[in-house]
Structure formats: structure tokens, C-alpha cells
Amino acid sequence: MNEPGANETSKYLLEARNITKVFGELRANDDVTLSLKPGEIHALLGENGAGKSTLVKIIYGSLRATSGHLFWRGRAVTVPNPAAARALGIGMVFQHFSLFDALTVTQNISLALPSDVDIGALSGRIETVSNDYGLPLRPDALVADLSVGERQRIEIVRCLLQEPRLLIMDEPTAVLTPQEADQLFVTLARLASEGCGVLYISHRLEEVRRICHDATILRHGKLAARVDPQQETAASLAALMVGTEVAAVRTDKGTAPGAPLLELSGLSLATDDQFGVSLKNINLAVRAGEIVAVAGVAGNGQGEFFDALSGELTNSNNATVKIAGVGCGREGITQRRRRDAAFVPEERLGHGAVPNFPLSENVVLTHHSVEATRLKTGGGMAGSAVVRNGMIDRDAARYVNRVVTELFDVRKGTPDPEAQSLSGGNLQKFVVGREMALQPRVLVVNQPTWGLDAGAAALIRQALIDLARGGSAVLVISQDLDEIFEVADRIAVISRGEMSQAYPSEELSLERIGLLMAGAHEAVAPNVGAGAV
């Protein structure tokens, strides 16, 4: 990968030229070129599966390109591994953190640094640098006790300690409240002003337009465009990312909602997990025909909330959860399903589906206690019960699989493959479709479209809306505020296990939601430079 003759006095900090990366038959990157100047915040855009992560891993040395060249400050370089990248001055903050819960902040950072770094002085340096850049950390804190936003700070400070010239950030604001995101932008601006380059991967178009100077857009592994995001609109950027006009989701907020089908009154649930979140006095009602969204950054009790609704966690007080007016707080998930409620959990493999079971068996997972599949196929034919007299009817299960595949456009290699062989989008379509096949009057979904490509996400959101308009009550728990504003009639915010009241979505702004996320009592993090509240 050492290419002679590449020596223009380069104004670029980093140049990736004609990068191609092939995995078997998949061309994850196909002749992609990206260039970035010092002090520039450069966006790398593309929807899920476009090849952003692959390109960035190549730059960072986690992967080797099949062909193409990398140039660092004008010189051709090879980056055989992340340590070499760090030695060059490239730091990376991944979307999924490499942290150890059982260790302290200092221990975590020391593991990420070369072994010759003086550990004794490290704690002091961590404190100084983190405060300096507006991302304060306590060196002795146990990572397990920290929030997701604080954990990200560890990752960022770890990079900063090595005085990088280029900082790569992969979807950094996915786990932050709007205020925390603002703080991050201040930090990034400071870094840029010091000459550090920032490669910013995101699919949040408004953000990108706000802070980025330049953008490279990938689509299906190829370079689609190179634009100045501040000259574009979010819609034009989206179109460049997806390649076509993205069909806007049809929301007709015509009919008034009906009777409440899901009611939570004074729902409290203490957690026995040391690192869990206890739910405190949640009150919420979802009426027939409406979609209520629960917004919140990860780690505020969404998982526990979902489990309390689904019945995986029961409550001693029966009246805390009511479905169609009947108290069922003490009932388990199977009984709640018999009350025409259905649930879609956040984790697809391992929770919503068994990874190495075929799809037809995964149907049995939630259909086993239901008398008959009530999915209308257009011919009005209903399936027969999947389980009768304790025995499984495989044909009935396969029938449901076929119907779901057809209605939800589930694409797969064979008719009945293992769940784990499906792509994220297709698996989620299957899981959502499976629950819709129960024709629920109440549907609770946790993070319906995380990690999905735009097409699958749009299909699922439309399905949720259609279900609601058909008279069901739909509750969506999501960290994606764009999604929430797209589908929700009313929005509530969960923060540290407590829930705000649900406001009509027209009445809420991003800023207000951010304040609700932070809770009434939390002080906004100290910041560098201009105030950012």
C-alpha cells in the first residue's frame, strides 16, 4: 500500500483514495474516495449498510482494504492495526463502547493506552483533560455506575489524551440528550479550532447541517456525492443518501381517539438488578386509534418499562396495568397476549426471536397460546391454531410465516431460514409482522427501527400507523426523536424511571423534550465557551 509519487504538498490531513473492500460476494466499499482537511468537521453520511463503518474501520486499521490507498498528511501510509492508527494521531470513538463495567475510569483508559503510560499520573491527567474539554469525569468511578453519556465521555477523553490530529466519531449523538449533544458540539468546535480534524458519522441530518463543513455521502458501498451540508436541506441530503425520494409516511390524524385501551396508574417497580433502573409512579394512557411515544435516552428504564408492560415483570397491584379496562398487573405475558395485546422487544435476536430457530418455529414463540391466527390475508382466511392439545401444528406455523413474509415483504434466502440469517431489517419486519398477525388491540414496541435501512424503517412505521388508525392503541418506546415526531400523536418522556405526562406532539419542541429528558432537577453539564442550554 505504499504508493510513490503521491507527494503533493497536501492540504489534506487524510485522504482515502479508491478504497475497495470486498467480503466474499459483498462489496462493502466500492472505489470510495474521501478527503479531509485539518480543522474540518467532515460528515460521513449514508444509511445503514451503506459502508460507512467499513470505510472508517479501514482508516482506523481494524480492517485492511482490498485495494486503494491511504494518505496521511500527504504521505502514503499503511495502517495495519488500530495501534498504528493511534501512533499516527488518529483516534476513534466507536458507537459501541469498549469499556469494562467492573473497572474504574482510570483502569479503563489505561487499558486503552499503550503500556508504557504512567498510570500514577493518569488519574490526574484524566481529570484535567476531561474538565478542560467540558466532559468531566471522576477517575475513580466504576464504569458500571455511569450513564451512557458519561461512558461516551470516557471514550472521547481516552482519545483526547493521545492528542489526536483526527478524531473519528461513529454516531455519537445516538445516546445523548439534546443538551448533551449540544455540549459535544461545543467540544468538537473547540477541537476543530485547534486544528484537529473530525470525521463525523451520522444519519442525523439536522445535526450534520449544523456542525459539519463538508460531507461525503455513501450509498450501497459507492461514493454517491460530496457536498457542503450547509448548502443542502435535510430532504436533499436524505435523497442523496437513499437515492430516491423517500416516501413520506402517511399520517392522517383525522379521527379522534377512542377509549383508553392501555392504562398505567401508579406503576412502580423496584429493580433487584444492581445496575437496573427502578420505575416510579408511572401514569400513562393510550387510547384506541392513537400512537403514544415514550422518548428517552438509553438507560433510563426503557427496558424495565417494556418488561412491566409485557408482563415479563409482574406487579403485585393488579390495577397498575389495565388492558381494555381490565386490570392485569399480576398477569404474565401469555395472559396479556390473550387480552389481544402484543409486544415487540428491542433486542431482535435472543429476545424477540431465537437466533438459530427457523422462522416458522419463531412464530410459535408468541402464537402458542392463541386460538387461531387472525391475520386477514385478503381472502379473509384465518389460519388454524399453532398449538392444539399441547402439540405443535407445524403447517399452521408455516402458514403464518408465509403470510407475514408476503404482507411485510420479508426478504430471505429460503422460505424458512434461521432467524439469524436474516438482515436486521428483514428480521424486524418478520417480528413486527408476527405480532401484527395476532391482530392486537394494544401493541407495545421498543425501538422499532434502530439499525434499519430507510426502506424497512418506513415500512414498519407505516404499519404502526395503519394499526393505530385501524382502532388499536400503539405505544412506541424510542430513542430516535425524528421517528417519534414522525409517528406519534402524543409524546411522553422517560427519565430515570419516571415518566412525564404525555403532550400532544405539536406542543413539544426538541428543546423541551431535552429538558424533560434531563428531568426537572438535573443541572446541565458545565460547558466550555458559550453557554449552551
Binding site: 466507536f94 469498549s98 469499556l99 469494562f100 467492573a102 489505561s110 487499558l111 444492581q274
Partner: protein, 306 residues
């Protein structure tokens, strides 16, 4: 020798094999690997130690042979579970079954033969002090070795970078891998260390404890060592205390009988096993203790594709 002296000495000798096997397994588990083959490695250490000592007339060479046997067995386990990614539980069980069978076969020729005893270190003058002499200074190298190893493990785990890396690998092997640490290499090393310790424990049994070879002479100590590791919540200091507690229980039967109390000998023999169950109940039931210290990745195979 006074009665108290005798009691203390037997407690120490009964606890040493437990301590040796357990501290090795503690390191293995800290790196995220559950090796249920401790009993198999121990019994192989015992038979190899005896065989080598008998043929060379050197107990020390026997100890060395025991150590190597343990390492060899453990590397077989490591190859299957780390490189071939087999189930750790099933592989550990098969290691035990294999060890019991193989040792039985090898040991057939050595049953009933006179043992070669691992001599106590005779430190001039110190070992002659009445009472303190034999009790503190009169042991063989494996007894002192076991204490030294425990101290060494504690030091490495909590005061060195290697220890930090081992804890990291056991806590989150994906993160460790992402940071560039060789997860498999660390685990191979920890597994081998565990094997060495179990082998030493076995050699102790056949060369010092009962200097003889008897089929299945480990009598479940390997399993008790596993329980000990859980009981200690993966902390060496607690392990030391636990091992000596169990050692006391182990030989209690003898002393109770000697006191002439009319309890069936089988009940006394069953005490170590019953106490093990009780200890597991107590420690596992305490969620805070276990949750915080459990190596989160324990038992999970590491597949570097994320």
C-alpha cells in the same frame, strides 16, 4: 506432638490440595473460562507424580511430572474450547471423565506400591523449635508453594497490568479484543496456569498427603475446589480462608470419630460435600456479592466477529 499440633498439621495438609487447585481455577475463571476438568487434571497430576517419583526415586521429579500432566490436560481443554469453540461445560466434564479413566489405566501398575514421600523442608534450628517448629516451618515445598502462589496471584491480579488485562478479558472479551488484546492468548495462558496448579494439587495428594497411588484418590476435591472459587467470589484472600475452612471440615470426620462420638462414619465422610452445598447456597443467594465480582464473560466462547 501435642493434639493441637497434630490438628493444625492435618488441617494444613488437608487444605493445601484444595487451595492449589482452587487458586489455579480462580485465575482461569478470571479470564472468563470455566474449566470443570479440575478433578480430571488433579487425578492425572496424582498418577503422573506418583509414577514419575516411583520410577526415578525422586519426589521432586514427581512434583514436576504432576505439574506437566496438569498443564498437558489443560492445553487439550484450551484447544477445544478456545480454538475450536466447543462448549466449555461439556468439554470440562469430558476432561474429567478422560482424566479419571486415563489415570485409572496408568495407575493400575502402581497400585499397592510403596509411596515416595515429599520430604518436609528441614530448616535448621527453626524447624526444631517446639510447637512452632513443625507447625510453621516443618512443611514440604508444596505447602509453602501454595501460599506463595496465592500471594503471587493476588499481587498480579490487583497490582500489575497483566492482572488488569486478565480481568478485562474476563469482563468483556469483545472490548478487550477491540482494544487490541489477544483474548485467546491470555486465556490459553490462564488455562495452563490453572492446569499447572491442579496438577500440583494432585501430585501433593500422591506424594505428600497419602504417599501412595489409589484409584480415584482425589475423591471429588476437584469439584470442591470449583465450589471454593465461587465461594471466594474470585478474590484470592477469600479463597485462602475458604480453602482452610474446607480443609478443616474435610478432616473433621476423623477427629469426631476419635472423640468416640457415635455418628455413622458415612455421615462424617459426607460432611465436606454437604458443607460445599451449603456454602454454594449461601454465596450464590447473596446477589450483590456475586454479581459485582463475577467475570461477566465466564463460560462464553469468544468469536472475534462483531
Amino acid at each position: 506432638m501435642s493434639a493441637l499440633e497434630a490438628v493444625i498439621l492435618t488441617i494444613i495438609t488437608a487444605s493445601t490440595p484444595l487451595l492449589l487447585a482452587a487458586i489455579g481455577e480462580l485465575v482461569t475463571e478470571r479470564s472468563g473460562v470455566l474449566n470443570l476438568g479440575v478433578e480430571g487434571m488433579m487425578i492425572m497430576g496424582a498418577v503422573s507424580g506418583f509414577a514419575a517419583a516411583y520410577t526415578t526415586h525422586s519426589a521432586l521429579l514427581g512434583v514436576g511430572a504432576g505439574l506437566l500432566a496438569g498443564v498437558g490436560m489443560s492445553l487439550l481443554f484450551a484447544f477445544l474450547t478456545q480454538t475450536l469453540m466447543t462448549s466449555q461445560v461439556a468439554t470440562g466434564l469430558s476432561l474429567t471423565l478422560l482424566g479419571l479413566g486415563l489415570s485409572g489405566m496408568i495407575g493400575e501398575g502402581f497400585t499397592g506400591l510403596p509411596g515416595i514421600k515429599l520430604e518436609a523442608l528441614n530448616i535448621p534450628f527453626l524447624s526444631d523449635i517446639p510447637f512452632i517448629g513443625p507447625v510453621i516451618f516443618g512443611h514440604d515445598i508444596l505447602v509453602y508453594g501454595s501460599l506463595f502462589i496465592v500471594a503471587g496471584v493476588a499481587y498480579v491480579l490487583f497490582c500489575t497490568r497483566l492482572g488488569l488485562i486478565i480481568t478485562a478479558v474476563g469482563g468483556n472479551h469483545h472490548s478487550a479484543h477491540a482494544l487490541g488484546y489477544k483474548v485467546l492468548r491470555v486465556r490459553y495462558g490462564c488455562i495452563a496456569f490453572g492446569g499447572a496448579c491442579s496438577g500440583l494439587a494432585g501430585a501433593y495428594l500422591s506424594l505428600a498427603y497419602t504417599p501412595q497411588w489409589i484409584e480415584n484418590m482425589s475423591s471429588g476435591r476437584g469439584w470442591i475446589a470449583l465450589a471454593l472459587v465461587v465461594f471466594s467470589t474470585w478474590l484470592p484472600k477469600r479463597l485462602l480462608v475458604g480453602a482452610y475452612l474446607f480443609g478443616t471440615v474435610w478432616i473433621m470426620g476423623l477427629y469426631v470419630q476419635a472423640l468416640g462420638v457415635d455418628i455413622p462414619s458415612q455421615l462424617l465422610s459426607s460432611l465436606p460435600y454437604l458443607v460445599t452445598i451449603v456454602a454454594l447456597i449461601i454465596i450464590s443467594g447473596n446477589k450483590t456479592l456475586t454479581k459485582v465480582n463475577t467475570p461477566a464473560c465466564i463460560g462464553q466462547p469468544f468469536a472475534p466477529e462483531r
